[in-house]
């Protein structure tokens, strides 16, 4: 297997892009990543996307974006794994370069959500849970997340207010990210007073649906410096699955796919949680950050919330998370979220994170969670 590095980064601002189509969003991220890599063409394009069929009436979007970008003829395929589509596409691009099947590959994550009404987006997001046995009962993606949060509070003795620091940290970090959707800090009072949307989840526990696209260009590490002065090495990449329905799990509060993919990534890299300088958690809901920190071994069971309460997740904390705003405040263009995480960790590894730079960051990790944990992708990046 060949060593693989990221040699180009691109992203659009996250938000409500009413004047920009799905294909244009994908193209813009691809265009800026190609420019960053000083490259004109790639051999293959992998597109992470969850909802183009349901929300835009368009499938076959990898060929569409390749065509729109003037790359007719190249290999191009869409990859779908619910909310983990972005990092799942990275996994495929990584495998292509590592396996020697291609030298220069683009991976785009793109989602267009704000053209549609809220109940349509809620129904679409709920396609990542079990359609016959969860969604049919009236459960939404958020409703399942809310039940996990309530059970967690019950088992570990927390109140809703104890989760505030996850949202406060995300918003504080988004203030320093020019591509973030919500760049205003929030207070504990604002968090505590927010009304529930799926009790105990309020709008400040939950990431906003958005439009956006992010892109990375991959190349073998041995030629990475031909494209970039600051290549970022993919030190490990791992995917694991669990039951799609949360109620089918032995213990719904243990994200087994998060644990397995983290263990595989750590084992492949010869690293452990203590070596990691920052972690992009999949904070679609505050509870998912807590469960992710615990499954990866950054905190014991029930200790994820305590890390946030003790201020250990901030940019100068023991394990900084959501360093550019996370899904919560950067925004959650769902199939692109995993690629935004990768672009942001790569910015940190390059030392290009501006006022959000984590000092001396050398190893960064991202965990992209599909559905409520049915697919989890863990990626570890390293500064070269």
């Amino acid at each position: 297997m060949r060593d693989v590095s990221i040699v180009g980064l691109g992203q659009t601002p996250v938000g409500e892009h009413w004047d920009t189509s799905l294909r244009e969003l994908g193209f813009r991220a691809l265009e800026s990543a190609l420019k960053d890599a000083k490259a004109e063409r790639v051999e293959a394009l992998y597109v992470g996307n969850m909802l183009s069929g349901h929300l835009t009436g368009q499938e076959h979007i990898a060929a569409l974006i390749a065509d729109f970008a003037g790359l007719r003829g190249i290999e191009a395929i869409k990859i779908e794994a619910a909310c983990a589509s972005g990092a799942a596409a990275l996994r495929v691009g990584y495998a292509m370069v590592a396996g020697g099947l291609a030298d220069l590959v683009a991976v785009v994550g793109v989602e267009k959500m704000t053209d549609q009404a809220p109940e349509t987006v809620t129904a679409a997001m709920s396609m990542g849970v079990d359609a016959d046995y969860e969604a049919m009962q009236g459960l939404t993606h958020m409703g399942v997340g809310a039940m996990l949060m309530r059970r967690y509070m019950h088992e570990h003795g927390f109140k809703r207010e104890d989760f505030a620091n996850f949202a406060i940290t995300a918003h504080a970090n988004a203030a320093g990210n020019p591509n973030a959707m919500y760049r205003s800090p929030i207070s504990a009072r604002l968090f505590n007073e927010a009304k529930p949307i799926a009790d105990p989840i309020s709008m400040f526990d939950s990431a906003p649906a958005a439009d956006g696209a992010a892109c990375v260009i991959l190349a073998p590490t041995e030629i990475a410096r031909e494209f970039s002065d600051k290549p970022v090495r993919i030190r490990a990449s791992a995917v694991a699955t669990d039951t799609v329905a949360a109620d089918d799990r032995r213990d719904p509060l243990y994200l087994e796919a998060a644990a397995i993919s983290a263990q595989k990534a750590f084992a492949a890299a010869g690293l452990g949680p203590d070596d990691i300088d920052l972690l992009e958690t999949h904070d679609a809901f505050t509870i998912l950050s807590a469960l992710s920190l615990e499954a990866c071994g950054f905190a014991p069971r029930g200790g994820g919330v305590r890390l946030a309460q003790n201020g250990e997740i901030g940019l100068r904390g023991r394990i900084p998370i959501t360093t550019m705003g996370g899904l919560k405040a950067r925004g959650n263009p769902v199939g692109a979220a995993g690629l935004y995480q990768i672009v942001e960790v790569a910015q940190q590894m390059r030392g290009d994170a501006g006022v959000n730079q984590v000092a001396n960051a050398r190893l960064g990790m991202a965990q992209n969670i599909g559905g409520t944990g049915g697919t989890v992708v863990t990626t570890i990046l390293e500064r070269l």
Binding site: Y133, M147, A198, D248
Partner: protein, 131 residues
Amino acid sequence: MEVARYWRTTRQRYQLVGEVCPNCSGKIFPPRDVCPTCEKEAKTPFAFSGVGEVYSYSTVYQAAAGYEKATPYTVAMIRLAEGPLVSAQLTDIDDKDVAIGMPVEMVTRVLREDGDRGMLVYGYKFRPVMV
């Protein structure tokens, strides 16, 4: 909901029929033909009693298309007496009175409406056990 899909899941939705594993005797819901515990074939039908207790719950204020009329409504994960967890709406109870550990039983109710002219989808919900 599509007519064929409605009929092929009727036994689950009307009668809470799952499976029992002939190898480890584990009770399985929904039916999946492979035992999630011992990974052996498990195709023997098993009707659950419909009795259980609330494992967790949430009142949903932002519903998906097809469920807006009932909003807000309370969903729950129920630990069935035979072992498995099942997700369903709670009914015949005020949202404020729900608690983890509360004994509940299965009843049949309308789950969703597919527009004014579409199908009424019936299935299981759970209500507090009548004393």
